[in-house]
């Protein structure tokens, strides 16, 4: 009964989505405010219906209703509750429902908080959102029905893939999807502007908070995925340039560019056409990410054939939305009018450079990700494109951007002064270069590029601090004045400084781990000791353990440093009985220097175990940096200036800060 309710709610949601698409568009066309006003309640209704469907599916999972095929395939009665819930989106059908749920949530938020949007723009935006929802709901209902029944109902389920039974996996997809789907807002606004044939700076002010929120979610989602891969896959790596990762990284790069170009549009009324195009590209890449991961086309063009109906359906959705939006763009963009040109050395110029490098780097990733597919489809040759390709192409394109980042916020709008900006960054540059030279002099091993990379990360962090310092100290202010200015600095300034500093932290983490990690593989008998990066690990033996739905062998290692006991590491190997599958759980000891990381391997013939040990210096900075970037986004989002024309609710809260300016 519950499953049927969910199924019915999905079908109703499709009907509502079609209404939400057609009537407001007609209303906007015919200048009929009543027709246009249908959009908001329809969007809210759609959210309610998709929520009902989602809850129905969750109930089916929590109660282990194996008469629902999707639950039978992906769950098991012995699975812990957390994974029964996260199992809802740990499979194709359920994750598509989550996708649509988040889409509906964004639509409903526009309906609820967009009271001060121009009526016509709001109607068009919600109509475009409705059309995306309609397409995906149709996809779910026709090819991926999560509520299909099985008769007779099996006694127990097949279980969830063990590598997905992890707390990080419970949160990673929702954030990733919130990011992907969040960019649909920018897309809908862009298409609405094209339909209207009108766009102004206010448009950018409405779009920016949505884009920022989506970007924050995507940043966190990618970071969680990387963190999960780090500790779960047992390779000690944090990023593999795997096509699935690239599929989420490309929208992030384009979305980062979009955030910056929307800034130019908001402040200077320039780059209009480009910003619209970027909004379309960003969401197109999000759709492509969904397509690549969901269709199975990634592992092989032929895997596509596992379920051609799905792949072709998503391909058709992509074709309609991307092709349609680009055609609309080609047709209507000339109407939008050119913004003014500006001096190359200016804030606008710096942001254009940012966009240029980000989109080019994104294109390089795109080529590396899709070239194997194209080659296989055309010639049948199977190749894999690994890290070397991306290091060679992405690296050189992104480094100039990292060097340029601190300059951007210090350049004035319209016409900047590069020499003055450089002077203000003198201290940051001196420290960064000094540290790089010191490291280069004392480095015992590792590539010569590594100290330069660390210097670059420091440059980003100190550059961000320099900007704040310059803003509060200019024209020789006293300490009271400095304090007052610190408090009155717009939150957006702190936000961008934080985000840039977070990027610096991530860069340092990546460089340090990649260049200076230690790795060793040893065969250890109980009582043996291995040494890595100054730690001595004594292998005490292996203990069996019974988990809720797995059996495991836990390796016990006593860790000492300079003769003093530090901790015990307990890496394990888990055998999941239901899924007939195994996972590796690394034992990790984190310190400020880095992570000691141990993986228990197979038993060898002579009673020894093979053990893989890593020391990953400063690796946590990678994810700490992502968190700081997220915090930067949050601080920026709380800025009153961004909220003008966006959610009404926050206005009163932001008012005191505004009044003091």
């Amino acid at each position: 009964m519950i499953a049927e309710t969910g199924h019915y709610a999905l079908i109703l949601a499709l009907a509502v989505a079609i209404v939400q698409t057609v009537l407001p568009l007609l209303g906007a066309r015919l200048r009929d405010p009543q027709l246009a006003a249908v959009a908001a309640p329809a969007a809210q209704m759609q959210f309610v219906l998709v929520t009902i469907a989602f809850i129905a599916l969750t109930i089916a999972y929590v109660t282990s209703d194996f008469s629902v095929e999707n639950v039978w395939r992906n769950s098991h009665s012995a699975k812990p509750l957390l994974y029964k819930i996260s199992g809802v989106w740990g499979n194709h059908e359920g994750s598509m429902v989550l996708w649509v749920l988040i889409l509906a949530l964004f639509g409903a938020s526009v309906a609820a908080f967009g009271a001060n949007l121009p009526r016509q723009l709001k109607a068009n935006v919600l109509a475009v959102q409705g059309s995306i929802a309609a397409a995906f709901l149709l996809f779910i209902i026709t090819t991926s029905n999560p509520f299909a029944r099985l008769s007779p109902a099996p006694f127990d389920g097949e279980g969830l893939n063990p590598v997905l039974q992890d707390p990080a996996l419970a949160f990673h997809p929702p954030f990733l999807y919130a990011g992907y789907v969040g960019f649909s807002m920018a897309f809908s606004f862009a298409v609405a502007a094209l339909i209207d044939g009108r766009i102004d700076a206010a448009w950018a002010r409405w779009v920016r908070p949505w884009t920022l929120a989506a970007w924050m979610c995507l940043t966190l989602g990618i970071a969680m995925g990387s963190w999960w891969a780090y500790y779960e896959l047992g390779w000690g790596g944090f990023w593999f340039w795997d096509p699935v990762e690239n599929a989420s990284f490309m929208p992030w790069l384009a979305g980062t560019a979009l955030l910056h170009s929307a800034l130019v549009m908001e402040k200077r009324d320039a780059l209009k056409v480009w910003t619209i195009l970027l909004a379309i590209i960003t969401f197109s890449l999000s759709l492509m990410g969904t397509f690549l991961v969901r269709s199975g086309v990634l592992t092989s063009v032929h895997a596509f054939a596992v379920d051609p109906a799905r792949g072709i359906f998503i391909l058709a959705i992509m074709g309609v939305f991307i092709g349609g939006a680009l055609a609309l763009f080609a047709w209507r963009a000339p109407l939008l009018g050119q913004g003014g040109l500006f001096a190359p050395i200016s804030r606008e110029g710096a942001l254009v450079l940012n966009n240029l490098l980000l989109t080019t780097a994104c294109a390089a990733v795109f080529v590396g990700t899709l070239y194997p597919l194209a080659l296989e489809a055309l010639t049948g040759d199977k190749i894999s494109v690994g890290a070397p390709f991306f290091n060679l192409t992405f690296g050189p394109l992104i480094v100039p951007l990292l060097i340029a980042v601190p300059f951007g916020p210090l350049l004035a709008w319209k016409r900047g002064d590069l020499v003055a900006a450089a002077q203000r960054l003198m201290a940051a540059a001196a420290v960064a270069i000094g540290v790089a030279i010191l490291l280069l002099a004392f480095q015992r091993r590792g590539p010569w590029l590594a100290p330069i990379g660390i210097g670059l990360g420091l440059w980003l962090i100190l550059g961000a601090l320099s900007e704040i310092a310059y803003r509060v100290r200019r024209s020789g202010a006293g300490s009271a004045e400095v304090w007052r200015r610190l408090r009155n600095l717009p939150r957006a300034a702190y936000g961008s400084a934080l985000a840039h500093a977070g990027l610096g932290l991530t860069v340092i983490g990546i460089v340090a781990t990649t260049a200076w990690r230690s790795e060793t593989i040893v065969a250890l008998k109980p009582g043996d000791t291995a040494e890595i990066a100054g730690y001595e690990l004594t292998f005490k033996g292996v203990a069996p353990n019974q988990g809720p739905n797995y059996r495991e062998r836990i390796g016990i290692f006593a860790v000492a440093r300079d003769g003093r006991a530090v901790t015990a590491l307990l890496p394990s190997k888990r055998e999941f009985t239901v899924e007939k599958s195994a996972t590796t759980e690394a034992g990790i000891h984190a310190s400020w220097r880095g992570d000691l990381y141990a993986v228990l391997g197979d038993p060898l013939d002579d009673g020894a175990y093979s053990v893989r040990l890593y020391f990953n210096p400063l690796v946590r900075l990678i994810w700490l940096g992502a968190l700081v970037m997220f915090a930067g986004g949050a601080v920026s989002l709380s800025d009153r200036r961004l909220r003008v024309g966006a959610p009404m609710r926050g206005r009163t809260k932001g008012a005191p800060a505004a009044a003091s300016k």
Partner: protein, 153 residues
């Protein structure tokens, strides 16, 4: 600065960055692509030592020998040709005799294949899709009814 000059600088910068990017991509394409072959294809192609590729097939039953320390020897087969492989390190959780495997590495000067990475993953019935395709084409492997697409995340 005139309008024309400004536009010139903008277009010039864009073209420069694009040219550099294209150059990098073309340069990187030359030797960072890794091809995938089955033992039969390797036998036909006579790949020399030092060329990295991925070798895919089944782990021949009874061929796994754990040597001294952490070095492991086994044989990859596609039922018509076989290639002996050495690997130092920890095998993936789902490495089993008779199951599909992909070894990433190159031929050593002595003619043996040395793998730097071993890929074998997901669930017991999992067959790397590129391998399944090739083995199916060779009629060695019939596919299995339970095959489901690799879970993405």
């Amino acid at each position: 600065m005139t309008r024309k000059q400004r536009r010139g600088i903008l277009i010039g910068t864009c073209l420069t960055v694009l040219a550099v990017a294209t150059g990098l991509v073309l340069y990187a394409m030359r030797d960072s692509f890794v091809f995938f072959y089955t033992p039969s294809e390797v036998a036909e192609m006579a790949i020399g030592p030092g060329t990295r590729f991925r070798l895919g097939g089944l782990v021949e039953t009874g061929s796994v020998v754990r040597g001294d320390g952490t070095t492991i020897r086994f044989v990859i087969t596609d039922q018509s040709k076989t290639i002996p492989v050495t690997y130092t390190g920890i095998l993936p959780d789902l490495f089993r005799e008779g199951q599909g495997v992909v070894a990433d590495g190159m031929f050593e000067a002595d003619g043996g294949f040395h793998a730097d990475y071993i890929l074998a993953k997901h669930d017991e019935n999992y067959m790397p899709p590129e391998l399944a395709e090739k083995l199916k084409a060779q009629g060695v492997w019939r596919g299995d009814a339970n095959a489901k697409p690799a879970p993405g995340n």
